[in-house]
């Protein structure tokens, strides 16, 4: 699958579409802007980010928009809306997205996962009251993250350059047709403006913790966002396969040879460690099976508890509204 990822021959009709999309998008950034930026920064153009000048200004635009519109609206939403409503809204849109997850499961040839996610959608739409409650997760049907951009990657469409899109944020050129397909497969796209606004608000509110973290911890928020976005997407595409993790984690350090002349582990120990890992995995599987019953019975307790929480947060919301009135 990854072999194909790098070969340009694999690109199919979707690839042609993608190239034309890229041309349109790159056309937006006039060459003058890019060159002017590059002269100031004086850093060689990175292979993955050839439109850095354009992307940086788009990033700035999105950031300013978020500071003046996104963040205040999202803060107000998070402050005034009871937590159970927030969770309900989030679950509702997440459930609609599961339709798209199922489609992409099957398009990537993940039959088992596709069947599971179909079950997830069925359970949450019925017992979960149109998706307001995520009953399926409580029952052990985990949420999966699949989208059409990942499917394109599995099919061998190359990633293409990194792009920052207005309002939408980080993407790659592969993500553009991906995003269009995902939107087309999402019922929320067809119901009209208010629902879409709530969907955007929900997405912004859900990303609140991450956005705050970047603000605090990043030395260069643009580079930080780009690097973590590309790595995170890659992790989703490969479903966290360990070879990819190895490549990302196992850095070369030229000092190693000076300080530690010999390899610490011999080949024998390597194979032993591998055996231990297999055993640990099996033990975990057994433990998971035994835990299933406890989890299922526990989920009913949790459901009743969430009703209590709901009643409680109603009270808090009421107090907050009174506070606003008093001001």
């Amino acid at each position: 699958m990854l072999m194909c990822f790098k070969e340009k021959e694999c690109s199919s009709l979707a690839g042609v579409f993608l190239v034309s999309m890229t041309l349109i998008l790159s056309g937006c950034a006039s060459n003058d802007v890019i060159e002017a930026e590059a002269e100031v920064v004086e850093v060689e153009v990175s292979e993955i980010d050839p439109y850095e000048g354009f992307n940086r200004s788009m990033y700035k635009f999105n950031d300013k928009l978020d500071v003046y519109v996104g963040a205040p609206v999202s803060d107000a939403y998070l402050w005034v809306t009871p937590e159970f409503v927030q969770t309900g809204v989030s679950n509702f849109f997440s459930n609609l997205k599961d339709i798209n997850v199922v489609l992409n499961d099957f398009m990537q040839g993940k039959g088992m996962q596709g069947a599971e996610d179909t079950g997830r959608f069925a359970v949450n739409t019925t017992i979960g009251l149109l998706g307001l409650f995520d009953v399926a997760t409580e029952l052990g049907l985990e949420k999966h993250d699949e989208d059409f951009a990942q499917t394109l990657a599995v099919w061998g469409v190359p990633q293409g350059p990194y792009l920052v899109l207005p309002l939408i944020g980080p993407a790659t050129s592969r993500g553009v047709p991906g995003g269009i397909f995902d939107a087309a497969a999402n019922p929320a796209s067809y119901v009209g403006m208010p629902v879409q606004l709530i969907q955007m608000l929900n997405a912004r509110a859900n990303a609140d913790a991450e956005i705050n973290f970047i603000e605090e911890a990043a030395l260069d928020p643009y580079v930080f966002t780009r690097e973590s976005f590309l790595q995170y997407r890659n992790n989703l595409i490969t479903d966290g396969a360990s070879e990819n993790v190895d490549d990302l984690l196992d850095f070369d350090d030229e000092f190693d040879e000076e300080e530690f002349g010999e390899n610490v582990l011999s080949n024998d120990t390597v194979s032993q460690v591998a055996t231990v890992e297999v055993i640990d995995n099996e033990i975990q599987d057994v433990a998971v099976n035994e835990g299933d019953f406890d989890r299922a019975s526990g989920s009913f307790d949790k459901a009743t508890k969430s009703f209590d929480d709901a009643a409680n947060s109603f009270k808090i919301a009421d107090e907050k509204l009174k506070q606003i009135e008093a001001q």
């Binding site: 004086e42 850093v43 989030s90 997760t137 949420k143 859900n206 913790a209 973290f213 605090e216 911890a217 990043a218 030395l219 260069d220 580079v223 930080f224 780009r226 690097e227 973590s228 790595q231 995170y232 890659n234 992790n235 989703l236 490969t238 966290g240 360990s242 990819n244 993790v245 190895d246 990302l248 984690l249 196992d250 850095f251 350090d253 030229e254 000092f255 300080e259 530690f260 390899n263 610490v264 582990l265 011999s266 024998d268 120990t269 390597v270 032993q272 460690v273 591998a274 055996t275 231990v276 890992e277 055993i279 640990d280 995995n281 099996e282 033990i283 975990q284 057994v286 099976n289 035994e290």
Partner: protein, 219 residues
């Protein structure tokens, strides 16, 4: 159930054999002074560190930022190879070009930055737990320990943490962490090298990190 139990027994015996074999192999080579299996030493470092994290989170409300930092600094220095991380982030060529004083200065603010990031983000507890998943050895002979952080009340229910450990003179030490496939060193490397590419890069880098540290301390 019967199958499960017999499977358990087999696995226990098998794992015991593997462990004892590892111990004898090590003593004969004289690599390890203590009789600890190589694999478990790396895993223990990670688990002990995670336990400190959970402890600090549980005391999040009673400890202030400085108190949390003190506890975490001790735990990080015991389990991480901070200098190796930093060297990899800035690149060996740049690192060699620094004076001893610059190296010490950067090391000092960088350590404080790592500790502050932890102290600021791990400040409350709502039933989070770490679950050990697996470990394996990479082609270069380092060990990667995979674990999952479960966040029952969070919007994201779980985050996969991969810890990369390398053996130095003190034993296995963490030098890189990836959360859901986002590698800490890779991300920092892009940021730091970008700043260092500037003619006044070193001073700029120190200034930015100091500013971040001040912001954390104000919380």
């Amino acid at each position: 159930m019967l199958i499960n139990k017999s499977l358990f027994a087999c696995l226990l015996i098998l794992s015991f054999c593997v462990n004892s074999y590892t111990v004898t192999a090590n003593t004969s080579e004289g690599v390890e002074k203590q009789l600890i299996p190589v694999a478990d030493a790396a895993k223990d470092i990670v688990i002990n560190f995670q336990n400190v994290l959970l402890d600090v989170m549980k005391q999040g409300t009673s400890l202030d930022f400085q108190a949390r930092s003190n506890l975490l600094e001790e735990a990080i220095l015991k389990s991480h190879d901070v200098i190796k991380s930093l060297r990899t982030i800035v690149g060996s060529k740049e690192w060699r070009s620094f004076s001893e004083q610059q190296k010490n200065q950067l090391m000092q603010v960088f350590t404080k930055f790592i500790v502050s990031t932890y102290a600021s983000n791990f400040n409350s507890f709502s039933d989070e737990s770490f679950v050990y998943i697996s470990e394996h050895t990479t082609k270069k002979g380092n060990i990667i320990v995979r674990s999952i952080l479960n966040i029952p009340t969070g919007k994201r229910k779980k985050v996969t943490f991969d810890y990369a450990l390398k053996k130095n003179a003190d034993g296995w030490r963490i030098y890189n962490i990836a959360a859901d496939g986002v590698s800490d060193l890779a991300t920092r490397r892009s940021e730091y090298r970008r700043i260092l590419a500037d003619p006044n890069g070193f001073d700029a880098l120190i200034a930015i990190i100091n500013k971040k540290n001040d912001n954390y301390a104000k919380q």
